[in-house]
Symmetry: none
Subunit: 242 residues, 2 copies
C-alpha cells in the first residue's frame, strides 16, 4: 500500500504495523497517539542513534548482564514493534520477559504473550498480584518477575510506573525518546533512542562486552548526563537546519 | 466526561474526538499517530500561537483572498477537528473545498464529505482523476479543484503531496507543527501552529485585511523566516526546561 520509494517509508510502515496491531487488540488507540509523540522526538534527534545513546546502550547492556535477575517489561507497543529483537536481547542477556500493560486486561496480556512467543520470546507466566505501589490494575505484576527483579528494562514506560519501580529500589533502564518526560527523568538510566534501534544495539553490546569493560561501564549510569546530551542534540539539530 | 477544569482538558477532548472519528472510519489509525506527533511539537512550541505564526496566518489570509481560484484540501484529521472552522474560512475567503485523503477510498471520501457538509462546508464533488505527479491512488484529485488551483491550503499534509503540488507551480500554504518536516520545508508558506488555532485565525484575518495590507503581506511569504522563528521558539523552550 505504501510505495517503497516514499521518503518516509520506514516511518509509515511502522505506523501501519501499529495500526494493524491496534485492530487486533494488541495496541490501544492511546498507544497509537503515544507512538506519534515518540516519532516527533525521533525526528528532532535526527532519527539515528546518537553517540550518547550508543554509550547508554552499552551501559544498559552492562547493567543487564551484571544483574542477578534482570527482567524486560513488555507492553503492547513494544511487542508490536520489536518482538523479535526482544527475543534476541533475552538470549543475549538471559533476562526474564514479563508482559506489563498500562491498559491491562487478561485478554490483552494473552494476545501480547502469544505475539512474543511467536517471535521466539520465552514469556514468564503465572498469577499477577497487586505488588507495585500503584492503584489497581496497574499494580499487577508477577512475584517471580518484576517484583523480584533488581534491574528492570522498561521500553516505552509510563512515568508513574517508572517512579513506582524506582521507589521499590530497583535499577530501572528506560527507553524513551522524550528527554523531558517523567520516565526519562525518573529512571536510573534512560536511553534516548528509538525502540527498534535501541533493543538490537543493547543485545549486540551484551554479546560484545567483556567483564572488564562491563565493570567500567557499570560505574557510568549518570542519567542526567544522557538527558542533557539528548537535549543538546535536539537544540543542535534545530540550529543546524537554519 | 472529561472535567472542563482538567489542565489538559483541550488536549484530552481533542484526543477523544479523534478516537470517536477513528471508530466511524473518518480518521485512520495512522491519523491518530500523526496527531500524537503534532501533540509533541505543540507541547514544544508552548501550545499557543506564537507571534511569528500569527503573522504567517495573516500572510496566508492575504494569499487566499488574493488568489483567483484557491482550494482548501481537507483530510480526515482536519475534518474531524476543524470542519466548522473550515466552513468559516471558506465563507471568509471564497475557496473551494476538496476532500483529499492519504489513505483514500471512495467510502472514506464520502464520510469526510458528509461530515464537512453537516458543518456547513460546500464540498467540491466530481470524478477524481490521477492528475498529481504521484503514484496511484495518491495522484487522484479533481480537475476543477486542486488541479486548477493557483493557491492551495493544505492543513496537515504529507510531504510528498506538498512537493507534488509545488512542482506543479502552485502556491502551497501548509499548516504543520513540525518546522523540520518535508511539508514545512517544501511549502510556499508554512504556518507552524495547531490546526484549531490556525484555521479560525486565518478566517479572522481574511475578514480584517484591507487591499493595502493584503498587498503588503503578499510580499512577505518568506517561509524560511517562519521556520527559523519556530525553531527558535522550540530551542528557547528546551533551554528553559534544562
Amino acid at each position: 500500500m505504501i510505495p517503497p520509494d516514499h521518503p518516509r517509508y520506514r516511518s509509515l510502515v511502522t505506523r501501519e504495523r501499529l495500526a494493524a496491531c491496534a485492530r487486533e487488540g494488541i495496541v490501544t488507540l492511546e498507544g497509537l497517539t503515544a507512538h506519534g509523540r515518540g516519532e516527533a522526538f525521533d525526528y528532532l534527534i535526527g532519527e539515528r542513534t546518537t553517540e550518547s545513546a550508543a554509550l547508554a546502550e552499552r551501559v544498559a547492556a552492562a547493567m543487564l548482564i551484571g544483574a542477578t535477575s534482570p527482567v524486560i517489561s513488555v507492553n503492547g507497543n513494544t511487542a508490536a514493534l520489536a518482538a523479535g529483537a526482544i527475543g534476541e536481547l533475552q538470549q543475549a542477556c538471559g533476562a526474564k520477559v514479563e508482559v506489563n500493560l498500562f491498559h491491562r486486561t487478561d485478554e490483552r496480556v494473552e494476545k501480547v504473550r502469544r505475539l512474543l512467543e511467536s517471535e521466539g520470546v520465552k514469556v514468564l507466566t503465572g498469577r499477577a498480584e497487586p505488588l507495585l505501589p500503584l492503584s489497581h490494575p496497574r499494580a499487577l505484576c508477577l512475584r517471580e518477575g518484576i517484583f523480584s527483579a533488581g534491574t528492570v528494562l522498561v521500553p516505552l514506560e509510563d512515568g508513574d510506573r517508572c517512579a513506582a519501580l524506582v521507589s521499590m529500589g530497583k535499577r530501572v533502564i528506560a527507553i524513551d525518546l522524550n528527554p523531558l518526560s517523567r520516565t526519562a527523568r525518573t529512571a536510573t538510566l534512560t536511553i534516548v533512542d528509538e525502540l527498534t534501534r535501541a533493543v538490537p544495539a543493547i543485545a549486540r553490546a551484551c554479546r560484545e562486552i567483556g567483564p572488564e569493560e562491563g565493570e567500567r561501564l557499570m560505574r557510568f549510569p549518570d542519567n542526567n548526563f544522557f538527558l542533557r546530551a539528548a537535549m543538546e542534540e535536539i537544540r543542535g539539530n534545530l540550529g543546524a537546519l537554519d
